[in-house]
Amino acid sequence: MANHKRDIEIKAFADHQVITQPNPLRKVLRRLKEKDLDDPIARAEKALAGLSGEFKNWMTVEADRLSAAHATILQNGFTHENCEELFRAAHDIKGDAATFGYPSAGAAANSLCRIIEHAPELAEVPSDLIAHHINAIQAIVRERTKLDTVSMASELSRQLRGVADEFLMKANRDRPEHLEAILAPSLVPGD
């Protein structure tokens, strides 16, 4: 860990201060030598590949958590806590699924996150729309090992996104800030 004294310099301006200091982490940097063949990124990718045997189980756990959150809503209604849990479960799949080798499940989860985030009233979203997203994610995870399901999974998530976007654009026609967010491009290519 870098641990050395730092002298902070503060330049005061009319409405702000600019605070600079010697780089506290400079001691962990070293110039790359020509003969240095070590590749930390390749090493990390290899380690990640070593975890891949666990990804199917992890993805099943994530998909089951989503289904459980949905079941709680069906049983106890759209309370704030229930909706939060549904969003967090979908949001985790959105972020993790591609790393675990299930990009189409991630895309379907992203579509579900958009519904939860931008629907004026989640209780008024057609119940089939939410259920179809969750069923699709479960099916993609369950059938992942069949090669012929890959393109079907991709088409399924694409179709869901189309239906969800159509619903969101109609539901938010009087809410320009949500419309803008719905139509804004993602930072992640292929989202």
């Binding site: 310099e9 702000h16 962990v28 940097l29 070593g50 975890l51 804004a184 930072l187």
Partner: protein, 181 residues
């Protein structure tokens, strides 16, 4: 070209998802890091931040109790006893531009949208280690300079007002903080 001695860095990873924490731990250890502390919510992360004084924080956004955004805001308290300057990398499933702006305004140093990759994480860490930005303190903001490029073209309401600089020498806040730990 530079290389980072990861074994000299102390990381704090905050994510409520145990699978993502495992992924992050695996990546950081593979890079060479030895000290990786983990928290599953913002409140625990804040406690660990004060206790372990990490060099770099990697946090998720959406978490129970308080989220990654609030964690960043709590770390970026200029008058706090802890180190308010540590680089914060926000690793999140949020992938909208407006989210980047909100994270930036909370004092986040780097933003990394999931899905995570070894290359993306390494580059963000290299960037915060090799290219630290000065900190800016205004009435409403304390954090890394939000301008990555210098431009005089901006004339909007958030334009900083210049004027003659007055340079004040201050004792290191971090040294003060560490002496109290």
């Amino acid at each position: 070209m530079f290389r980072i001695d990861f074994n000299k860095l102390r990381f704090l990873v905050c994510d409520d998802n145990p699978h993502m924490r495992r992924i992050l731990r695996t990546l950081l250890h593979s890079f060479g890091a030895r000290e990786v502390y983990e928290a599953e919510d913002g409140a625990t992360a804040l406690e660990m931040y004060s206790h372990y004084v990490p060099d770099i924080v990697i946090t998720d956004w959406s978490m129970p109790i308080f989220d990654g955004l609030e964690l960043a805001q709590m770390i970026r308290q200029p008058e706090s006893k802890g180190n308010p300057f540590a680089p914060i990398i926000m690793l999140t499933g949020h992938s909208e531009k407006r989210r980047v702006t909100v994270a930036r305004d909370a004092g986040v140093t780097e933003f990394l949208a999931k899905p995570i990759s070894a290359k993306g994480l390494y580059q963000r860490i290299l960037n915060v280690v090799a290219n630290p930005r000065p900190f800016i303190k205004t009435k409403t903001y304390f954090g890394p300079d939000r301008r990555r490029n210098t431009s005089n073209a901006y004339i909007g309401p958030e334009r900083r007002v210049g004027g003659e600089a007055e340079v004040l020498q201050q004792p290191s806040l971090l040294d003060k903080a560490r002496s109290t730990v």
